[in-house]
Symmetry: C2
Subunit: 496 residues, 2 copies
């Protein structure tokens, strides 16, 4: 009897090894297909301390070409030390098309741990769960193949593993206080993990693996990954759904209805400019200390005066506390990732101001009009952008969006002026003239985006800029007011 | 009399303002030239606390197009918290061609502050001063226009400024303990700054500005910048000098002299592999805890077996503690910076291992042979690379370089095998065949680089890889031995 049992066990183990080998070979083949089809893969591996996440990853990558994957081990900082939105580091780590990122724990560990540490409130927990769902949907819709694994072990097994690690002087250091706390509070964690998985399983489902049998877990993980990739490769790139949530919107006029006559006289301008710049300088100090992040978005017609407007603004700021991001065509490594990636990775640290000179709205303007993305993609973008900006404001950021507006005649005047003034000639290109020919199409696109994305939390402001000086003053006033409000709100929030 | 004095003062101030305006306009014009000529500029602004560095930068950028510059404010972490070589953050911040980076304090503040804090020894101080000189020379030779400014104020003036800041509740927070310490120890700092400037002024000279007169300092800084740019634009891109330091070298055979017959039998291979992988796993833990960074460089003939060799190595490592960097042709944002930038920015954190699958030696191989750089540039590179690697080992890194070697016949066999095996076809491209035709030229280039860059601290190892298994075992043995030695040395250093 016992001898039979032993034989059976050996056979099982052998057949498991064979199966793993086969799956690894399959994956190796898929690697080429993924590269060819430019499909990116994210493998999220969550689970208990000592469940074997590291070892699992080691097996998954063992046969792969290092050019093909990346392993990332994000850290969960205390919330007070976080300088970016909590999803930032995961977004930063997404692979380029054709490659795989393995995450050794990720957004689940982040949200659950902070919630259990009482670093985020119940409401923040709910928001973050929603943000995770949005994040996963956006990536999936953007063509990312996502596999979410949870490596499970029972409390008893965790005890054994931690004990074995702690006992050996060579590995003792690997058992940290957090692991021990998790073990002591196993039940609390179990409930919290469960709750999180229940609430985040509908877009991309969770797969629970048995971490107590290492080989089986490896086989199962490989099998799931191979199946998922197989599925994706055969069905072609996921096309995405045009999901549209109803966001509370501010009503916006059509561009053609905007009265562009407002102007300001020179004395008034100088006086106001000085006053506003001084005040902005003060506010910059305050938001720096209160760690409020500020995101200022500039869009507008060519020659509308964005540059000069931004310069009047930055002049009052401490250069150590702000960045201007001029947004041109995406570089190859940007083009090969989700379209919002290059904006996520340019977000300001808490307490800093960042100014986007052109923004993610390129998706629903130039990319839409020039056919750089599919209709499905730009249709979907309004909602994705609204979600992105809500995430930013929930993080605590002040988000202001300016459409710097002029009429067609004024643009022509300024174009001609640029062409006729030697030191301004660099500012005018063939492309500007080409864009001008598409004025009406752009106007339609802009009207649409103003209607659909002027959310209460991140509203659009149309800045009449036929008189540039008037435009500058108006923009500065809006910024000053918004920052004052944010400082006040920040204090209120602290007291609640 | 007094009225005359007042008038004179007003006139002086007016003429200063006019001059500043003129210089700003000139700089604005140069901005276009720099873009056109693709010339990058680094403006380093060092100086006393409260000397007005921030305000100076604000003035310098006030008229510039934000697309054209970047302001960086590096922090000086305590040495114990640094995870990268001290120059890392400055190298990371260098601009792309055609743009300007303003550094609000930089490598001088870093080295001096750590020395005065007793965080680095006298010997380390000397090494870092030397590294700074090498760093500046390499950037200058690489076409970077560098301006180094020191904003000086006397002790009394610093007292006034700090007092004024500390007195005002709005700005009180800006005065930190470090500033006060600096003020109390003004003389020590003065001597240290002086010493540093004396020792780092010969490649790129220091310019001392009078920080007590804000406007004058702005005018002087602008004037220096405009002059420097003017000079560079008129003289054309700096061509660099072929400076060659004598490094202690390990003697290397010519490739043609290498006996490629060594092999290993299968049983021996399996046994050794297992043993070495286990040991490497243990050592990985130790170097992680001791925070020793490890840099493993792979070069070799196409189809020599680099990939398989690397995989046998990584299999024994915890995936959370290493990265493999496959090096392909540089991307545009890499091509537009110093050629070592993309390697600097991929350096491992302390305690981590990084594996370069192809390296900076591309400069003296493919770039040399394909004419992607000038003769002057690749001639210079041997020395630059030796300096780079010395910097790495002085930082504490283990640097090992492997040339994976096969002969021409074996390559042909493997190429054919790849072409005839469906799942290996992706590994063979037209380019591989083209490179093969240039075998002899490559051999000359490799022989030369082996002779010139096998320094005692970062030696080359030729790995006979006609038998891939032999090659893997040999590589692993070298790595294990080097890590064991590093752990021992690490302990010795601590005790000294």
């Amino acid at each position: 009897m016992l001898r039979d049992f032993e034989t059976k066990k050996r056979e099982d183990s052998n057949s498991l090894n064979t199966e793993i080998k086969q799956l690894e070979t399959q994956l190796l083949g898929q690697q080429q297909l993924l590269m060819k089809e430019k499909m990116p893969v994210i493998v999220l591996i969550e689970g208990w301390a000592a469940a074997g996440k590291g070892t699992l990853i080691k097996e998954l990558i063992s046969e792969l070409d290092p050019r093909f994957y990346n392993v990332v081990s994000p850290v969960v900082l205390p919330e007070a030390d976080e300088r970016f939105p909590f999803l930032y580091q995961y977004m930063k780590a997404i692979p380029v098309n054709g490659k795989v990122t393995f995450l050794d724990s990720g957004w689940m560990e982040n949200v659950v741990r902070k919630y259990l540490r009482h670093e985020i409130t119940k409401e923040e927990y709910r928001n973050r769960v929603r943000q995770v769902n949005e994040f996963e949907r956006q990536l999936r819709d953007g063509g990312y193949i996502i596999l979410k694994l949870f490596l499970h072990i029972e409390k008893r097994k965790q005890y054994e593993r931690l004990y074995r690690l702690a006992e050996d002087p060579k590995t003792e250091w690997r058992v940290n206080r957090e692991d021990l706390m998790q073990h002591k509070e196993y039940k609390r964690f179990l409930e919290a993990y469960d709750d999180f998985m229940e609430k985040t399983g509908s877009t991309v489902g969770w797969q629970i693996l048995d971490g107590s049998h290492h080989k089986t877990a490896v086989r199962d993980a490989l099998r799931l990954l191979v199946q998922r990739v197989d599925h994706a490769v055969n069905d072609g790139r996921y096309e995405g759904v045009t999901f549209q949530e109803e966001f509370p919107l501010k009503e916006m006029p059509k561009l053609s209805e905007v009265d562009l006559s407002p102007s300001i006289d020179d004395d008034e301008y100088k006086k106001e400019l000085k006053k506003l710049q001084t005040r902005l300088g003060e506010l910059h100090n305050i938001i720096y200390r209160k760690k409020i992040p500020v995101i200022l978005c500039y869009e507008g017609w060519d020659a509308a005066g964005k540059g000069g407007n931004i310069r009047r603004l930055t002049y009052s700021l401490d250069p150590r506390g702000f960045d201007v991001h001029p947004i041109a065509s995406p570089l190859p490594h940007e083009l090969n990732r989700h379209y919002l990636w290059r904006f996520w990775t340019r977000l300001p640290k808490t307490g800093h101001i960042c100014i986007f000179d052109r923004t993610w709205y390129g998706r629903v303007m130039v990319e839409r009009l020039e056919g750089f993305c599919t209709a499905n993609e730009w249709h979907r973008a309004y909602n994705e952008i609204n979600e992105f900006e809500r995430m930013l404001t929930e993080w605590g950021a002040v988000v202001l969006k300016f459409w710097i507006h002029i009429d067609k005649d004024v643009q022509l005047e300024r174009f001609n002026d640029r062409e006729n003034t030697p030191e301004k000639q660099w500012k005018i290109t063939e492309e500007d003239w080409r864009n001008r020919e598409k004025w009406d199409e752009y106007e339609t696109a802009v009207d649409e985006l103003l209607q659909k994305t002027s959310t209460k939390n991140a509203p659009w402001h149309i800045i009449e800029s036929n008189d540039k000086k008037y435009a500058r003053i108006k923009t500065l006033k809006i910024i000053v007011k918004a920052l004052e409000k944010a400082c006040e709100k920040h204090f209120k929030n602290m007291m609640e």
